[in-house]
Amino acid sequence: MSIGIQDVEHVAKLARLNLSDDEKERFTEQLNAILKYAEKLNELNTDDVQATTHVLPIKNVMREDEVRPSLPIERVMANAPEEEDGQFKVPAVLD
């Protein structure tokens, strides 16, 4: 399986990245090399192998749904690039 520039553009869109023409070209080449290398996994028959979901026998970690104090708004906002009235400010989503 080999991927072209159009595939890279599609994946970049999914990944929310803008790529320069130079990046698109380089990534197409490099991702092809990496994916070609990854194809060696197909040498192994894994039909009856269960996928690893967790290396430890841990499952369904639950805790009580208790009401606890939340962080103060000013601390939550401490690293906000833009804020207004204790809220994160972003461009309008609706007209």
Binding site: L17, L31, Y37, E43, N79, A80, P91
Partner: protein
């Protein structure tokens, strides 16, 4: 010789006897940084004012006759992907250039509770993605043994800082070998604990099913003490293991009589530098002399580990890094057309090349139509790799091999060939995929550069790994070698 060269026992004695103050110890650390940092470039942020204040307070308590914690007063460095309240944490990324955490990660909290003095935050590959420190957005840390060479990655700053004598110990994080490989390249001791032993709460996630925090130290005894301080169940991390934490220092008996060692032939085969192999074979003779037995074994799926790892780690990274959208913290693009454009522009400006490459690979591997062929396939092969370890540990107490196939390579040598760079981690990655613990200890020099010996243990059997590493260290002088700076 500075106080930082003393052993833990000597330091504690000197502090208790008031022959040395914590302030003097912290001074020695910053003096050494001033003298060597221009060459090494290990630190991204220094914490000098707060560190000196903490030292004064500790000295005050000592003057009142207070008892000391095991690690009290020790100057330590922390990898810059571990959040520290009020101390800038960048992950060596432009994205987090101005990020000032509002909370402590669990290990940061535990270090504070142990009265460790945080000297500063250490350079790394951006978001821990890389094997050389060349992917930092800020600077390339240099290997103290040869300034033209990389310190390894992604905890290269952590390893270089200890090797250069700037701090007493440091914390790193290991996803595919990022503690062990730089420890090997820099001639220090690096321990990757069993997945789940040390809380990941407050570690900026790269690949959540693989990431583990661990100590980088000058010797195995220190490693045992630092691990003791940071290990244990944490309800803030749902992957934290609720297991009993033994006394690791007590395990350091020096006795390895009857220890059964397996040496995977794949770890000493093709691609391993003959001089690296020679140092490792000499280490085996030491174990033999000390009463351990060894056999060559096969781990048949080793060759598939790197491909498996890069598919899985990149997939998890693409998912974890989706949170970097320029809204709540980090960089934000100046004039976005709309919300979607804000995401696109902020991420494109904030992330470096290697991070983008892995996000792309991971997004592709998880995308519709390719999930089964890449992600799911890799998770199945991971099961086979883990089985290799399960089967080996039915017969052997530990597995042994080199930490990395070669010694530290030159800066710039591999930067344009990601696949070549990925293959440096071929001996550490299988361990990470299986989630088992492993340590890298110095076992000699090849052409003047350190070689690391990797000892791999059963899940949660850090005690045996540390015991074996310690016995080796007691019998040899390799760990006492220091670079000339």
């Amino acid at each position: 010789m500075t106080p930082l060269d003393m052993t833990l026992a000597e330091l504690r004695q000197a502090l208790t006897d008031r022959k040395l103050s914590v302030s003097e110890l912290v001074d020695a650390s910053y003096q050494r940084i001033t003298a060597t940092e221009e060459q090494v470039q290990a630190f991204l942020t220094l914490n000098e004012e707060a560190a000196r204040e903490q030292a004064r307070q500790l000295d005050g308590r000592l003057a009142e006759g207070a008892a000391l914690n095991m690690l009290a007063g020790l100057p330590a460095g922390v990898k810059d992907n571990i959040v520290t309240e009020g101390l800038r944490t960048t992950c060596a990324s432009r994205f987090l250039d101005n990020y000032n955490p509002i909370y402590d990660g669990t290990v940061s909290r535990k270090l504070k509770a142990a009265d460790v003095v945080t000297i500063g935050k250490l350079n790394m590959d951006e978001f821990a993605m890389g094997g050389s420190n060349e992917n930092s957005a800020y600077q390339v840390t240099r290997n103290p043994w040869d300034l033209e060479r990389v310190p390894g990655g992604s905890s290269g700053g952590s390893a270089a800082s200890v090797a250069a004598g700037q701090v007493y110990f440091s914390l790193g994080s290991d996803t595919g070998g990022s503690i062990r490989q730089p420890a090997s390249y820099c001639g220090v001791v690096g321990l990757k604990p069993t997945y789940g032993l040390v809380s990941r709460f407050g570690l900026v996630a790269f690949a959540s099913s693989l990431d583990q925090i661990g100590p980088i130290t000058k010797n195995v005894e220190d490693s045992a003490h630092v691990l003791q301080a940071i290990a244990g169940y944490d309800k803030m991390d749902s992957t934290s293991a609720n297991v009993n934490v033994p006394n690791y220092a007590e395990a350091l008996t020096g006795d390895v009589k009857g220890l059964r060692i397996g040496v995977p032939k794949e770890y000493i085969g093709q691609g391993v530098d003959p001089k690296v192999k020679e140092a490792v074979m000499q280490a085996l003779q030491v174990f033999e002399r000390l009463g351990a037995t060894w056999e060559e074994i096969s781990m048949p799926h080793t060759d598939y580990a790197v491909a498996t790892y890069y598919l899985l780690a990149s997939s998890e990274a693409s998912s974890n890094l989706a949170r970097f959208d320029g809204v709540r913290y980090g960089v934000r693009a100046d004039n976005p057309d709309n919300l979607l454009d804000l995401y696109h522009q902020s991420r494109s400006q904030g992330f470096g090349t290697e991070v983008k490459r892995r996000i792309m690979l991971g997004t592709y591997a998880l995308s519709s139509g390719y999930y089964d062929a890449y992600y799911l396939k890799a998770q199945k092969v991971r099961t086979l790799i883990k089985r290799d370890f399960d089967q080996a540990f039915e017969r052997y107490d530990i597995l042994l091999g080199p930490t990395a196939p070669t010694t530290a390579f030159r800066i710039g040598e591999q930067i344009n060939d990601p696949l070549a760079m990925y293959l440096n981690d071929i001996l550490t990655i299988p361990v990470s995929l299986a989630g088992v613990p492993a340590i890298s200890v110095p076992c000699g020099l090849a052409d003047g550069l350190p070689v690391g010996l990797q000892l791999i243990g059963k899940p949660f059997d850090e005690a045996t790994v540390l015991r074996a590493a310690h016995a080796f260290e007691q019998d040899t002088e390799h760990h006492k070698l220091r670079p000339q700076l």
